[in-house]
């Protein structure tokens, strides 16, 4: 038996805080939500079945490419470029399929085996955690002679980035063109975030207005990946915040606190 399976996890806080009503098979908890590896040492990610029934989960490595509007586009293994293929081939993880009873956590071990002479740079894949849906009964129901009955099953999951860095990598960023926009999803605060260097930037956006103690808007987990030089960031805001986003504001981009929390970029601007 391995050291991992022998070890005991205590989930006091997580279990008490997990929302309990209306649970369905396939509900899941994943922690942490981002993995950065910069050495031979691996890590692990916790997957917990927070549903009410046993569920089988599949864990896979996927590729995503950031677009200039900040979306993560799916990339098939056939379309993968050299950097993406290198990421897929050096990330080791297990298990890849696991059946969990309700509230049973499982550690997914992640390791890196960089090939000899790997070039300096940032390599990335996205780990997808998703429940395999149970087979539906095939027997048609009686009645509904002329009707169509429709059963659509969502297969839902979570992806988190797994990033491998080798060598001394640098990046800087700049913010421009802050604006309030409205799209089909409602009001949003948008701006352009540009990046230079050989790695991604990642951190927290804070929008503050002179005279107000609290930031109007805080959004963590904003990345500009190395495949794009600039992206638009569009953050949904409630109408009452959108109304306050006028006049002079300061937009700041900080590193995540776990990475030092330093200021990456900052701009003072006047919103229309």
């Amino acid at each position: 038996m391995s050291g991992f399976t022998k070890s005991l996890y205590i989930w006091a806080a997580a279990l008490m805080l997990a929302p309990l009503p209306a649970q369905a098979a396939g509900d899941l908890l994943v922690a942490p939500t981002r993995v950065v590896l910069d050495g031979a040492r691996g890590t692990e990610v916790i997957l917990n079945n927070v549903g009410a029934e046993p569920a089988t989960y599949r864990i896979s490595l996927e590729l995503r490419r950031m677009t200039t509007d900040g979306k993560l586009d799916e990339v098939t293994k056939e379309e993968a470029n050299a950097l993406e293929q290198a990421a897929l081939s050096m990330i080791r993880y297990a298990p890849r399929r696991i059946t969990l009873a309700p509230n049973q956590p499982q550690a997914i071990r992640i390791g890196v085996r960089p090939p000899e002479g790997l070039a300096d740079g940032e390599y990335r894949a996205h780990m997808l955690f998703r429940a395999i849906p149970k087979a539906r009964p095939v027997a048609p129901q009686a009645g509904e002679a002329q009707g169509l009955s429709i059963a659509l099953t969502p297969i839902y999951g979570v992806t988190i980035p797994v990033i491998i860095r080798k060598g001394q990598l640098q990046a800087s960023a700049a913010i421009a063109n802050g604006r309030v926009v409205t799209d089909q999803y409602g009001a949003a605060f948008a701006f352009d975030l540009s990046r230079r260097g050989d790695k991604s930037t990642y951190g927290e956006i804070r929008v503050t207005k002179p005279g107000l103690d609290e930031p109007l808007l805080v959004a963590r987990g904003i990345a500009v990946y190395a495949e794009v030089d600039a992206r638009a960031v569009k953050l949904p805001v409630p109408p009452e915040i959108a109304r306050q986003l006028t006049g002079p504001v300061k937009i700041e981009y900080f590193e995540a606190s776990s990475a030092g929390g330093g200021l990456i970029a900052s701009v003072q601007t006047v919103l229309k």
């Binding site: 209306a22 297969i155 999951g157």
Partner: protein, 163 residues
Amino acid sequence: MFNKAKFLTAGSAVLAAALVSTSANAATANADARATILEQITVTKTSDLDFGTVVVGATGGNVALSSADGSVSCDAALVCSGTTTAAAFDVTGTAGETVDITVDPSVNLVSGGNSMTASLSGSDASLVLAGGDSFTVGGTLAVAANQAAGDYVGNFDVTVEYQ
């Protein structure tokens, strides 16, 4: 073993995982204990996407299910009945964390040798988590003239993505 493992994130997270090392002589009082705070994400489904029951005539039509409130607008050529719901999901995680939501643009529904297609749309493309967050998925079902009766089933992917 575990004392080599190092977790990356600390901060105002909700999840506390305490790791207690056990060994062959676990009865002794001498055990390592560590606590690590991890950022976590929980996704729970609270409702399925349900177009209800549709009765077809000689002409086809569309059944549009709003992602906003699960209400249905049914073309005059069709008769729609039964309860309809948009698919709905709750997302919990660290406050202020940004997640993107991707939904398959369409889904193929199959009943034996018959099929039809529904386009899908989510209520949100991204969320900045503030506690009690959720999103829904609705869509438009295209029903052909004389679409064969039956129980149509289909799967579609919904993914909550961290950048």
